[in-house]
Symmetry: C2
């Protein structure tokens, strides 16, 4: 990849975050699937700048000291990090009103349209004084980086925080190659009609500043093109996966994101995970059903509990023999809907335990918290992993867990996750709204014979190993080369 | 049209309903846009049988006396009516669980997917012991009618109650021409993923028993074909608007339904309407904003009140000069969500009146009831008609009202109604989720100069007169001829 132009990565969260500890500045690696994947990507680049938001006070101090960026890993990796300070009020509007929940809910089909959202002056102000200026601010930084590289660069923008940025960069740097990766579902055109035309057209025309817009699945890429056709009236080619803006062809592409298999194997073998696993092994029953998720409504945690409730009612023979370990990371608890949702999860788990439990057996073991070692221990120990999301861009939990599982556990996977396109053939498919089918599928998974479990688990793991995160970015870079060659 | 085969119409509600009055049987003409339109259609057919459900006790008595049907209008029209008795429990499941709310909510994008619907045993039972057997029962009646006509007939099925029927008829009568008209929106493919695959595939394969499936707009026809492609994997042709089932080509067509302009003019001039109008004229203020709707969440009544609230806050000069007359027909009040929704409407109207009203002026004049004369009087008197639906198959209120309005009233019309494709160019467009835009649009409509109002209203009325209900069914019959000729 030595022939690649310098890469400018853009994402909201960066590879590290700074904080003060006893008066000293400490840098911590960022968590989350996207940042982990991008960190791997950056490791493979000879020359890259990662533009990200200064999210902590100490990040802002770093940004003030080094406005042009600083080397990551003391220069070992060839990656520089450029942290962008953002006005707190603009950031709140950008992040807390527009990106989450407005765009997140639209893209996961989560709005209860009869009553929400209302596009109010607050929302429109958040767009004009939050989402747009933050995109403009980041575009400025990218343009400066491009200029510092003599006008040649490949700009790789990530996720729903920066839909306006590609066109802003394109206007000022017509010759750079601009690529945007959307990590969440792309809904069908009507989903975008929640936004008034000016806003939804800004989303699409912003992205059409790209040379290529990438998604996790072909379905999302198709939906994007259909949106260009229906909402902007542009001609599309669903076979070639392109849209004609009148000035340029823009390609829609799909690359399923994945995990670093070797790193995950190492983590699974680490002392911290082993300790957590020992605790689990000591207390587990015959069957262990597991889910590991943020408490986001898109994850469909309530229907998972209801289906489990139904399973226990229909199969009293499972009493005391099965536990549903739900290890949930409370998410966005400062947002009312999210706090209410977590409370509903607690209540429903308590109800199911009340209905089916005994003094020495709680059917649902609900744990709210964040502990990667414990999560990976649960991955190793599950007999059935429940991933029943309503809509989910990819779902990396499914990929991580099948990789390290030690019990030939069965993956029970929603048809509406991106991961289902790769793993559906070896998983037990879940229909996320159908409680009866989910209960039946859980029963089938729990009673599947060992040989079939083994075949399926190994097939899943082989797919993940084969299509790991390295392949994810190699394919993108190869396509970039090809698309750019086609341009010249 | 004399060369047309005998027509067999199928719809849930029929052209009339029987009841006992003082011991005598009385037949009343059915109400509602669909039945009215079909009645006109039937009037133009030389030989037709209308198969419909026996909905009252007296309908069942009629069905028992005349299982093969009876002549409508004492034989003047050439139309026979065949009422089908349906087991009460099967009908409850068919109508009250599957058709409404399940299909209705899917097709209007009204489910709050984070929490509803749950596909439970009750829903699956309602399908197996309600929706399917009622469709089979009606298919039996249609097959008998076809047999009675020597095997040649054109079967025209209507609406979301009978998605399974076309394939059931096709299996047993391969040579009849089967046509299905869907009167509500057809959502994009993901909308159908709320149903488990067996159910959603049954909907699509049921309709694919047709020769042609018809909708109100091209957008819905397209969505249907995209669903055939995405959910069934069938090849489609979006230019020709066809899908290839492997055995046959099925055409998707679109014909915007309309009203009978002459009949509506006559109604508007009737003494009952004039009396209601006098009352309105005597009490109206300078500006009269009107809406006439069922209290269905798809109608977006709450956001309409919120936008009006915002208008009054932003334009205090309108105080005492404007009234928003909301004439609403309580709908499905036996269903909890609908009763709650009506209560929310009452509360919000009271809040707005509390906030802005004065001892002698209530900004929102909320009237719950059913009174066609009063509704038409309001059509004649409005200065602005609000039709801000979330999603609405057509919306005939818009078409009726512009026809008879006497004040060059402005139509404020949601972009998500079927009617917007025809009338949008002359209406003030509403973005149904955007309160700011709706308030601005109301202000613009209220302050528009008289000449522009007149031009727009006349253009709307001309479109409706030109594309009236006669044209709606003439176009369908002409297409039937053409499609059938193509078959031969």
């Amino acid at each position: 990849m030595e022939h690649l132009d310098p890469v400018i990565l853009v994402s909201h969260r960066g590879p590290l975050q700074h904080r003060l500890e006893g008066g000293r500045r400490v840098a911590e690696r960022g968590a989350g699937g996207l940042v982990t994947a991008l960190s791997h990507l950056a490791d493979h680049l000879e020359e890259a700048t990662w533009v990200c938001a200064a999210l902590s006070e100490e990040d802002e101090a770093v940004a003030a000291e080094a406005p042009g960026g600083f080397p990551l890993d003391a220069g070992r990796s060839g990656v520089r990090v450029r942290m962008v300070p953002v006005d707190a009020e603009a950031h709140r509007r950008f992040y807390g009103v527009i990106a989450n929940p407005l765009l997140w809910f639209i893209q996961h089909s989560l709005w209860d349209l009869a009553v929400a959202p209302d596009i109010t002056a607050e929302v429109l102000d958040a767009w004009e004084a939050g989402y747009r200026p933050v995109n403009e601010r980041f575009a400025d930084e990218v343009v400066q980086e491009v200029a510092a590289r003599g006008g040649r660069a490949t700009v790789m923008v990530h996720d729903y925080h920066f839909y306006l940025l590609p066109a802003l960069v394109r206007d000022r740097c017509p010759d750079v190659f601009v690529h945007h990766f959307v990590h969440i579902p792309w809904p069908q055109p009507d989903g975008w009609r929640v936004l008034p035309p000016t806003l939804r057209e800004a989303v699409f025309t912003g992205l059409l500043g790209c040379d290529a817009v990438a998604f996790h699945t072909e379905r999302y890429a198709r939906n994007f093109l259909l949106g260009c056709q229906e909402l902007l009236g542009l001609p599309i080619d669903l076979a070639a996966l392109t849209v004609d803006t009148g000035r340029r062809q823009v390609a829609a592409r799909w690359y399923p994101i994945s995990v670093d298999a070797a790193a995950f194997d190492a983590l699974a073998a680490s002392p911290g995970v082993r300790r957590a696993e020992e605790e689990l092994v000591a207390t587990r029953r015959e069957h262990l059903v597991v889910r590991v998720d943020r408490t986001d409504p898109s994850k469909n945690i309530l229907r998972g509990f209801r289906a489990f409730d139904l399973l226990l009612s229909e199969h009293p023979e499972l009493a005391k023999r099965v536990t549903f370990l739900a290890f949930l990371q409370p998410s966005r608890q400062d947002v009312g809907e999210y706090a209410d949702h977590t409370e509903a999860i607690r209540r429903l788990a308590a109800d199911v335990n009340q209905a089916h439990g005994t003094p020495d057996w709680q059917p649902i073991d609900l744990r709210l918290g964040e502990d990667l070692d414990f999560a990976v221990a649960a991955y190793k120990q599950f007999d059935v992993l429940v991933v029943n999301g309503i809509f989910d861009g990819m779902n990396l939990v499914a990929k991580e867990a099948v990789l390290v599982n030690q019990r030939d556990g069965v993956l029970a996977l929603s048809e509406n996750t991106g991961a289902h396109e790769e793993l559906g053939a070896f998983a037990v498919t879940l229909h996320p709204f159908d409680l009866v089918q989910q209960a039946d599928a859980l029963y089938r998974a729990l009673t599947m014979d060992r040989a079939e479990r083994k075949d399926r688990r190994e097939a899943c793991a082989a797919v993940v190993r084969e299509n790991d995160v390295t392949k994810w970015f190699r394919r993108q870079l190869a396509d970039l080369e090809e698309l750019r060659a086609g341009d010249g």
